[in-house]
Symmetry: C2
Subunit: 496 residues, 2 copies
């Protein structure tokens, strides 16, 4: 392991040294999307954050089993309806058709952001038996009761017996007992308003339904994550993550269910990503202060002045720590666009840099220290903005070396090689960024080949003082929004 890893643990509210249950292996569960509508930009931020965490854990040498579920049933809304069947009724489709449509859309979006698929992607509807088994275990342990075909988790008894209810969300038990979001539902069946359903009897017109020992019905929303994480990662595993908004009631109840069924906590470390804002305010559909990923990519929104590519949006996300609120602004995105290009262009120059045969110097030490720090800061609770800041200090060095303002004689071949590998590791392996029509040296195939030809034609036109041709090239490239940049290591190009 290259660095000791520290993680901000929501369960203890402390930054803790990470210690895996099994040396060299990590089990990580992340609450995935509910597939009844298009994935929103807040979800994207959460899954991009956990993708970087997943990638970094693998970079540290761990073998990671990353489980991220698809919620295709059982998400109870305030109206006591199942979100999936609600969506299905609106669209007049079979619920699984709705789930498929938005699952495909979600996967496409995750690919656009170049995130890795998780190791296992279990579906809630695919684990009804496991959920029924878990309900039975909780009943057997005396912590749930059946009423009218539904089964409720007995929060009062659990809170009395095991002093952990409220620990994760930091809520006091008395507050919990009045605050739960479904405290007005099925009031008459519950022993106490804070009790929550782990199995729901289906009404006659409810289309998602399965046989169970208690009724034809469906599992409560919180149950699926308890059942699926236990199945694929064991009763206690390393990391459980999700968006901040899931802390309560979802994760709090997940913890309760696992204690109730298995007698132990599900995860040692709980990691929560923070929310998005736009222009300093909470994103909200009702007052129009919202933006979709597609709008960001096309520029079709009153909140932004232009389109931003997926990699620019991803870069923008990485410039905030996952645990901090991220404020989307047009200015912030413009800066991210410049930053992304600056980083990628510097890497192209760097990868072309030849052996220096220089010797160790103050500069050499400085460059190595910056690289060390970048990794240390990633190991300090996955601090992407701090690590990125170190990379940009290195970008300045690279540009100065390339322009001849710093001397190649002052850095060793080993340092150049380490710098090359560090940049590729951070850009491609850890951050998961892609080249987006940035040449020369990028991975664009044909466009890059054509640009090489055009750059040569431009050069020979200039040499021959054929201003007509060089003007023609300049104007056409401008029209195509392509910028060409001449430097010591050759000419590079990029596209707006």
């Amino acid at each position: 392991m290259k660095n000791e890893l520290y993680i901000q643990n929501s369960l203890t509210r402390q930054k803790e040294l990470f210690q895996p249950i099994t040396d060299g292996f990590i089990g990580m569960y992340v609450c995935g999307p509910t597939v009844y509508s298009d994935v929103h930009i807040g979800n994207c931020r959460t899954f991009v954050s956990f993708d970087v965490i997943y990638r970094y854990l693998m970079h540290l040498g761990y073998q990671v089993r990353y489980v991220r579920n698809i919620t295709d049933v059982g998400h109870l809304t305030d109206e006591g309806e199942d979100k999936m069947s609600k969506g299905a009724k609106l669209a007049k489709l079979e619920p699984m058709e709705v789930a498929q449509k938005y699952t495909v859309g979600f996967h496409d979006m995750m690919k656009i952001f170049n995130t890795l698929p998780p190791s296992i992607e279990p579906r809630a509807t695919g684990h009804i038996i496991e959920q029924i088994d878990m309900v039975q275990q909780i009943i057997d342990n005396g912590l749930a009761y059946e009423a009218n075909g539904s089964v409720y988790f007995d929060t009062i008894k659990f809170a009395e017996e095991q002093k952990v209810y409220g620990q994760l969300s930091g809520r006091k038990i008395d507050d919990l007992l009045v605050e739960t979001r479904d405290n007005l539902k099925n009031q008459s069946e519950k022993k106490h308003p804070s009790d929550f359903a782990i199995w729901m009897r289906a009404s006659d017109d409810h289309i998602l339904r399965w046989n169970s020992p208690w009724s034809v019905g469906f599992p409560g929303w919180h149950l699926e994550c308890s059942a699926m994480s236990t199945k694929y990662l064991g009763k206690t595993f390393d990391i459980n993550g999700g968006g901040n908004d899931l802390k309560f009631p979802h994760h709090e109840n997940e913890v309760a269910q696992n204690h109730g069924a298995c007698g132990c906590k599900p995860a040692n470390y709980w990691v929560h990503t923070n929310m998005l804002e736009m222009n300093g305010r909470k994103m909200s559909k009702s007052d129009g202060n919202t933006i979709t990923p597609e709008q960001l990519f096309t520029g079709d929104s009153p909140h932004i002045t232009k389109a931003y590519s997926p990699m620019v949006v991803k870069f923008f996300m990485l410039q905030a720590h996952y645990g901090s609120t991220l404020d989307i602004t047009d200015k912030g995105l413009q800066d991210a666009e410049k930053g992304y290009r600056r980083l990628m262009e510097a890497n192209i120059l760097l990868q072309k840099m030849e052996a220096t045969n220089g010797s160790a110097s103050e500069l050499d030490t400085e460059i190595n220290d910056l690289m060390d720090k970048a990794f240390q800061q990633m190991s300090d609770d996955f601090n992407t903005p701090m690590a990125m800041a170190r990379l940009f200090e290195l970008v300045s060095k690279i540009n100065s070396l390339s322009a001849g303002h710093l001397s190649n004689n002052d850095i060793t071949n080993e340092t150049v090689d380490r710098l090359k590998s560090t940049f590729n590791t951070f850009i491609y392996d850890i951050f998961g960024l892609l080249d987006e029509e940035i040449g020369t040296g990028g991975r664009n195939g044909i466009a890059d080949g054509l640009m090489q030809l055009i750059i040569e034609l431009r050069q020979s036109a200039r040499t021959n003082k054929d201003w007509g041709t060089s003007d023609k090239i300049r104007d056409s490239l401008k029209e195509l929004e392509i910028q060409v940049k001449d430097g010591k290591e050759g000419t590079t190009w990029s596209k707006s």
Copy 2:
């Protein structure tokens, strides 16, 4: 509906007029991949074929619910082992990790071939309850029996009671009784060798296992398709499809299970795609007469002389009827490459064709007849090679019109418009082909913009008799494997 549709029905061995159960709607089930290894080229052909069928049914105006499953459990091998858990043991992975890896790979491959995702993509492991329910129904109907925790379908009783066993595969019942592939397994538990498992008791080390009324075990392979098609499409639906190799025992047993559980046949029309050969012989791993999709795309195989793009391979597939054997040869692929380019280039010329203000003539009638025929032939059991042949007769007309060998005065504006829309409909909507770096007028964005500039620079170099520059352009494009073609409607380009 534009044409009456005829389908070759494997169940009756006749080409029949297609009549949907519900006007305007079609339910279609296709047996999907077993995700324990990379998808092979034969699977790709099957799913490309059904994608074209799906697209054509939608083109005809039907609302199609297309269900294609993922088999992630229950495929019994000759050794009586479950293929999924076998793969998992080899890879030392959780079976669902193996399933996820190959599901993602399968989806990526389907995207490379530009097939549409099905409406619903159910997983076998996601429908254990439904399978258990179906086993119970078959037992209740007296057509299955339990032995030592496993449940077997009683083929003898079924064959006696309902005279349909063997109908689909065309096998005689006496042959069936000795021929089944698992006739030597669990011999002692079965009443007769031809009986097949619909529920299997899991041995202690079997990792895929669920509670059931009979044992902790797993469903028989054939059962999942019966249970999932019934759930999503109803007891009897319109079309059930798959590869020819699935006819027996898989589909024959599926029919038996549906009759046994629901008392009726599952599908009205059974459609089977035929097998692939290579160089006139059966593809076979053991004698090296095999090729993977990746090898086709990279050219890294002793059986081919160069790489073929996914669209060329897809075009090659469409040049045979889905019901015919398709023989993969290097020559055939080379011809397909030429054909694909010829078709796409003609369409670029066509879409640029201006209003003719011509009048109806023999040529005009001929063009309209060819278009009518192309659609009629697609409606004749989805005959892609015949429809394609009509398109190529039209390509000749388009090229002749473009070169001035046929006169624009002989075709009306309406015909030109219909021709444009017919070509786009066939190429993009029905065949699902994509532009692959074919310009100008393609959908390639930046590469196309750069090629436009290069073509202009080439033109002005020629005009100025600047042979140095025009040679430089010619050589560079050759190196990039780009062909430029000058025509009356402008210059187009394509890439090898």
